[in-house]
Amino acid sequence: MLEIDRVTRRFGDLVALDQLSFGVEPGQMFGFVGSNGAGKTTTMRIVMGLDDPNEGQVRFAGAPIDGEVRARFGYMPEERGLYPKTPPLRQLTYLGRLHRLDKRTASERAQVLLERFGLSDRMHEPLENLSLGNQQRVQLAAALVHEPQLLMLDEPFSGLDPVGVDALTEVLMERVDRGVPVVFSSHQLELVERLCDAVAIIDAGRLVAAGPVEQLRATNGRRLLRIEVEGPDPTGWAERVPGLHVQARDATGVVVLLDEAVDDQLVLAAAQAAGAVRHFAAVRPTLAELYREAVTNHQLETPTGGAA
């Protein structure tokens, strides 16, 4: 539905985005992950028409994005911004109208959203009088007021307390259930892993990995096993099996990394020889582990690195 197609963006000599390509499907909660300066914000700004790529194209529903299509996107910029002196209701109504809603619909939707975020009693006060958390809620409402067909949220969870995170999650899930693709960037990898159907990991402007999290795990290639053996030597046996590397050990068992050529059935046989096997299962790498590994490998391949 949203396609980033070989997008390159240079700032002088600096390559901020280098042939970046990935796609987001309808109704997908899509996490955009990368270190500071990896190019997440630049990518989002290009999608929102706030910056132009030097090469490549962004498409929505198969067509290049023009102003009318973009007006139906919802955007929450990295640096929050609304009119400080304008009360939330008037502010949201105005932004809704800029996004092609008529006055009454804009005002009604703004009121519904503000009520939803518990701001009904503050909606006529200047925005700057609200707490930062509440201002962030208004900012999110600004991205939602026109019922967008795509949501682009740059670090929407930063600065929110756990209750705020849950409330935001709920609101985003509703949109996803209606088939709206939601793209958000975040440093909180546990959160991304919990929420997202798919992710894109970028480093120094280049795509490192993209796709559903399960698929990334499957193609990760690392085979980690946790094995618990009841016997005289619950951990020592593993060190004697060739091609097996002990990653961690505790009183009841070990976590081992298998070399590529090693047959896991032979490992099981070795474990059974050491005692009664109580636990034998693959350890699923967390997104954080996948991310670290992918980025480390990527940086080994491209020692020059990058920025922006």
Partner: protein, 391 residues
């Protein structure tokens, strides 16, 4: 188009809502109304009451009545019984001066040059008239002798004849001063609005739904429209006041000159707005705005100096040039027109030149704006803003 209109109406109403705006406008209106009504309240009926005792004095008084316009005075006659009544009337202030006979006037304090010469002239005329009657001339012949026109003075050099206190010049200078103020204030609001949107980062949200050109156009039209409403209101109230109160008599030419201030405001605002918009586009914080708009303000102040210069030497080369150069014309040309030294074709030429300048500046300003508006960090070099992006 819809985007432009929405931005326009927001800019218009947000300023209109601000308390400071309403208070300052209320204050200006109150000053205008006060300025127009105060002379009436204080001056009231400013006719000079001349008392006369006896038929001889009454004859002098009646002659003075016929001559009052020529002496730019307003006289009322009060007939008094005798000298005692005259003294009484002077003391209680019911007359300002009392004529006792052809050659004697009784006063309490000085009379003022105009009244004294009016009365002296009347007394003299009646004396001469009586002498002529004694010499045998009939009333008709005598009357024709007094119908001679009063001396009028012509100036050697045309410009020395310009009366700086001529009501039309005073009115237009006032209007031009207001025009200068509006250009400076509303122009700075354009720049300030741009920077505020950059500083608060709201511009990123706005530009995901409207084009930069729409945002800039809407801002200029909204603020310019508010300024137009303000100048229409101010000149309207002032004109209405002048018509109703006749504090001063306004010649027809002054009305034309005053009406010309409106197109000059429109043209001047659009031209200066392009400059102010560029200044606002290259800075990121309101704190830095003052230094960025300074060059524009200086040009505007120069234009006001030009108007001053035009008052002193309206036919000089500098005044003529300042009346045609697009950046100074909005302030200088209306003055030249009010002084009567600029003809219609000069005004039209100046307007055309200014509109041409707007046509040149508009795309330049829009390009700088597009290039600078999303650079929300630090100060942007004009060169970078210019070459930034095509969209």
């Amino acid at each position: 188009m819809t985007g432009t209109w929405l931005v326009t109406s927001r800019e218009f109403t947000e300023r209109l809502r601000s308390r400071a705006f309403l208070i300052s406008n209320g204050a200006i209106l109150a000053l205008i109304i006060l300025g127009l009504t105060l002379p009436m309240l204080l001056g009231g009926d400013d006719a000079i009451r001349v008392g006369t005792v006896g038929e001889e004095a009454a004859e002098v008084g009646r002659f003075a009545l016929t001559q009052q316009a020529a002496f730019d005075a307003e006289v009322e006659l009060v007939y008094l019984a005798d000298r005692d009544a005259a003294e009484q009337a002077l003391e209680d202030g019911s007359v300002d001066v009392a004529l006792l006979d052809t050659n004697t006037a009784l006063a309490d304090g000085t009379l003022g040059a105009r009244l004294e010469s009016l009365l002296a002239n009347a007394s003299n005329a009646i004396g001469v008239d009586r002498a002529l009657a004694d010499a045998g001339l009939d009333p008709q012949e005598r009357a024709s002798l007094f119908a001679i026109e009063r001396l009028s003075v012509e100036q050697l050099d045309e410009r020395d004849g310009i009366d700086l206190f001529d009501p039309s010049v005073v009115i237009v200078y006032g209007a031009v001063f207001v025009l200068y103020g509006l250009l400076a204030v509303y122009g700075q609001w354009v720049a300030q609005g741009i920077v505020e949107e950059k500083q608060s980062r709201v511009v990123e949200v706005l530009l995901s739904s409207v084009r930069p050109t729409e945002l800039l156009t809407g801002k200029v039209l909204g603020l310019g429209g508010l300024g137009l409403a303000q100048i229409l209101l101010l000149t309207g109230v002032a004109s209405g006041g002048l018509l109703l109160t006749d504090v001063v008599e306004v010649p027809a030419a002054a009305w034309t000159a005053l009406a010309l201030v409106i197109p000059w405001y429109i043209v001047g605002f659009l031209l200066y707005a392009t400059l102010f918009a560029m200044a606002g586009s290259v800075v990121s914080r309101v704190e830095d705005l003052q230094s960025a708009v300074m060059p524009v303000i200086i040009v505007l102040v120069f234009a006001l100096f030009g108007a001053q210069f035009a008052l002193n030497d309206p036919t000089g080369t500098i005044a003529t040039a300042a009346g045609l150069i697009p950046l100074t014309a909005p302030i200088v040309q209306p003055i030249l027109f009010a002084l009567g030294v600029a003809s219609w074709w000069q005004t039209l030429l100046a307007l055309t030149l200014a509109i041409g300048a707007i046509a040149v500046m508009l795309p330049i300003s829009a390009r700088i704006y597009r290039g600078g508006v999303l650079r929300t960090r630090g100060r942007v070099a004009f060169r970078d803003a210019w070459g930034s992006r095509s969209g």
